[in-house]
């Protein structure tokens, strides 16, 4: 049973208070949207969960194990994976090698045939199989995003954080990412989806977290969040006098 418990995370960079006591919990294969304006701290939160940076205070437990003081690779092995906002594929390694890295890092190396088979299956799913021996640097931006998602599949983590997977992606590839998210979710994994693309968020997520300059200002179903006045104030940047105009059904468009 997947179980991520985050309590009271704070993080400062110098004088900048980026996270101010963020707490939430995830139980089971949930599909959660994490939204908030630019600079709200979404990526920072991801970095802390992932172990890339250490919080100033607060704890993170994954399946009962405390992970906030672990190093990045230990967190990955404990079952939390993430993608990066700016694509970070291993540019001068082939597509296939990119996929092998997480599999071997988890120690599946002794069963190479199985790993290869799985990698091929993932590539096929992501429609990249014809590129398997190309260097990642020769892939298009969108394909590199797919590749990064593919690596996560190979990592087989329990909780996956996708940082803006739709940014800069062509609609036809978007389809694949949708399918990807569904597939992972159906396989019983939890997903935290960070995106500015509201229609995708509303279409996919059953629960939304809204981060506003370090505060978690809302946590609930899309409908409740959508109508939450603090969210509207913070995220839509609405003028007070025109607040009424924004409470229509945004998900429709």
């Amino acid at each position: 049973m997947i179980d991520l418990v985050v309590t009271g995370l704070t993080k400062r960079f110098g004088g900048l208070h980026v996270l101010k006591g963020v707490s939430f919990e995830i139980h089971g294969p949930e599909l959660i949207g994490l939204i908030g304006p630019n600079g709200a701290g979404k990526t920072t939160l991801t970095n802390i969960l992932d172990g890339a940076i250490k919080p100033n205070s607060g704890t993170v437990y994954l399946n009962g194990e405390r992970i906030d003081q672990l190093q990045s690779f230990e967190v990955a092995r404990a079952g939390l994976g993430r993608t990066f906002q700016v694509t970070r594929s291993f540019r001068r390694m082939t597509v296939l090698e990119n996929l092998l890295v997480p599999a071997l890092a988890l120690g599946h190396g002794h069963n190479r045939a199985e790993v290869d088979e799985k990698a091929m299956e993932v590539l096929e799913f992501l429609t990249l199989e014809h590129l398997r021996n190309e260097y990642a640097q020769s892939l298009s931006g969108g394909q590199q995003k797919l590749l990064e998602l593919g690596r996560l599949l190979m990592l087989d983590a329990d909780v996956i954080i996708l940082d803006e997977p739709f940014a800069g992606v062509h609609p036809s590839l978007m389809e694949i990412i949708y399918r990807y998210i569904e597939r992972v979710n159906e396989a019983g994994k939890a997903i935290i989806l960070i995106s500015h693309q509201m229609d995708s968020i509303f279409a996919l997520c059953k629960r939304l977290l809204v981060l506003n300059y370090g505060d978690l200002i809302a946590d609930g179903t899309p409908d409740t969040v959508k109508n939450d006045p603090t969210v509207i104030e913070a995220y839509l940047g609405a003028d007070d006098d025109e607040q009424g105009a924004t409470n229509g059904d945004q998900a429709a468009s």
Binding site: T10, R12, G14, K54, N56, S57, R91, R92
Partner: protein, 422 residues
């Protein structure tokens, strides 16, 4: 050394508390939600200087780590080492002989100024192009060679300044041409690892220049004549006691510190050129444009500054600074094609110590290295080894610094431009 146990005992004690201080202070500051960027440094220095007492105070109060807190414990630690040394080896020249200490310090500073000046060129190149020029020593060598040939071989009796200018001109052109031919591919983003490319290609240049000069000029040491003679002076009066006495090739201060003419001329010229350089960088349009490019390439381009032109200027200027140092020192040192290796090594140590890309860091780093070398040469009891280890003294300081502050002493405050990228 008379009482080595005292010395090594104190050093051991200091190291112990420095390690404890650096590790725990960092943890503590992290835990207390405070800025940790200087915690390791301050903790270790305070531990070294004041032991458990200082650390306890630090840990109880956990004050903000201001510049004062950065400097004073470091000074304290150095003082403590000096004191321990004084107790352990009371008859050492560094302890017992005041005038010796004064001359060593003045030597260290003079040399430090020259080192710092050279390192300045290196750091200028780095801050704008983001590469470490491994050909810096060769520019230094060529500067000296040109000055020598102009003032001594081709036009003996000519004003030395002509030689210096010729050296500047030649190296400037050389630097500009090299930049155009070999460094331009770095800017279009096509090179995967520009830092390494820069190192390697300047390395190739160094190789080529050094052997080219050896093949054409040969390997006999040469030296330019003294550029200027000191006027004969004896101040305040012709009778003792006096403050300054000069002969043609030497100057003596307070009857203790003697500074040789070429070295003095070089240091003064370096300071003057440094001031000119600062003026150039801060007061002239081109200088401001250079700094602007080093801070933010794109914004500079938006303002209409051609960043490629500035790259060329920076590389040529950086090389020229080294050459200038060379042309000033060719009257002090004997010159060979290999002469650049040592100052280049020194410049590397200095720029890393000062923080790559930081101009004040380079200069202060130079003086620190100059002083450390003077201390090492002057104070290490074993005369035979003291000087043999000169190349290592700066490195030891550097290693310690990097362990505590991986960005060097003066990492840039607002990193941007090339410095931010690499």
């Amino acid at each position: 050394m008379e009482f080595p146990n005292i010395f090594w005992g104190v050093i051991g004690w200091m190291i112990f508390w420095a390690v404890v201080g650096s590790v725990i202070t960092r943890r503590l500051y992290l835990h207390k939600d405070l800025d940790t960027s200087n915690a390791a440094f301050v903790g270790s220095m305070l531990g070294a200087a004041m032991g458990p007492i200082g650390l306890a105070a630090l840990w109880l109060k956990t004050p903000e780590l201001t510049n004062r807190l950065l400097v004073w414990p470091a000074v304290g630690a150095v003082t403590l080492i000096a004191a321990a040394f004084a107790f352990a080896d009371p008859s050492n020249n560094c302890v017992a002989n005041g005038s010796f200490v004064a001359s060593q310090i003045s030597n260290g500073i003079i040399l430090g100024i020259i080192y710092g000046f050279m390192a300045l060129g290196l750091t200028l190149i780095f801050s704008i192009l983001g590469i470490v020029s491994f050909a810096h020593g060769e520019f230094y060598m060529i500067g000296g060679m040109v000055a020598y040939f102009v003032t001594t071989v081709w036009f003996p009796g000519i004003y030395p300044i002509v030689g210096i200018l010729a050296a500047c001109l030649v190296t400037f052109a050389l630097g500009a041409a090299f930049e155009r031919m070999f460094l331009t591919p770095m800017y279009d983003g096509k090179i995967e690892r520009p830092v390494e490319y820069g190192i390697l290609v300047t390395f190739g240049l160094a190789f080529t220049l050094q052997y080219f000069i050896q093949a054409t000029v040969g390997a006999n040491p040469v030296k330019a004549r003294r550029f200027f003679d000191f006027p004969r002076l004896r101040l305040p009066t012709a009778e003792d006691p006096w403050l300054i006495k000069t002969s043609r090739g030497n100057m003596e201060l307070f009857d203790t510190i003697s500074i040789s003419n070429p070295r003095f001329v070089a240091a003064v010229a370096c300071v003057l050129v440094l001031l000119a350089l600062l003026y150039f960088l801060h007061r002239t349009w081109t200088g401001k444009a250079l700094r602007a490019v080093s801070l933010d390439r794109e914004a500079a381009a938006i303002a209409g500054i051609n960043p490629d032109r500035m790259n060329m200027l920076a590389f040529a200027l950086g090389g020229m600074i080294a050459a200038l140092a060379g042309s000033l020192l060719v009257q002090a040192f004997s010159w060979l094609p290999q002469v650049g290796a040592i100052p280049a090594m020194r410049s590397f140590v200095i720029v890393v110590l000062g923080g790559l890309g930081s101009l004040p860091g380079a200069f202060l780093g130079g003086i620190i290295v100059g002083l450390v070398e003077a201390t090492g040469t002057g104070c290490v009891p074993d005369a035979q080894k003291a000087a043999s280890y000169i190349p290592a003294y700066g490195m030891i300081v550097l290693t310690l610094t990097l362990l505590l502050r991986p960005t060097g002493l003066f990492g840039r405050r607002f990193s941007g431009g090339a410095h931010g990228k690499f």
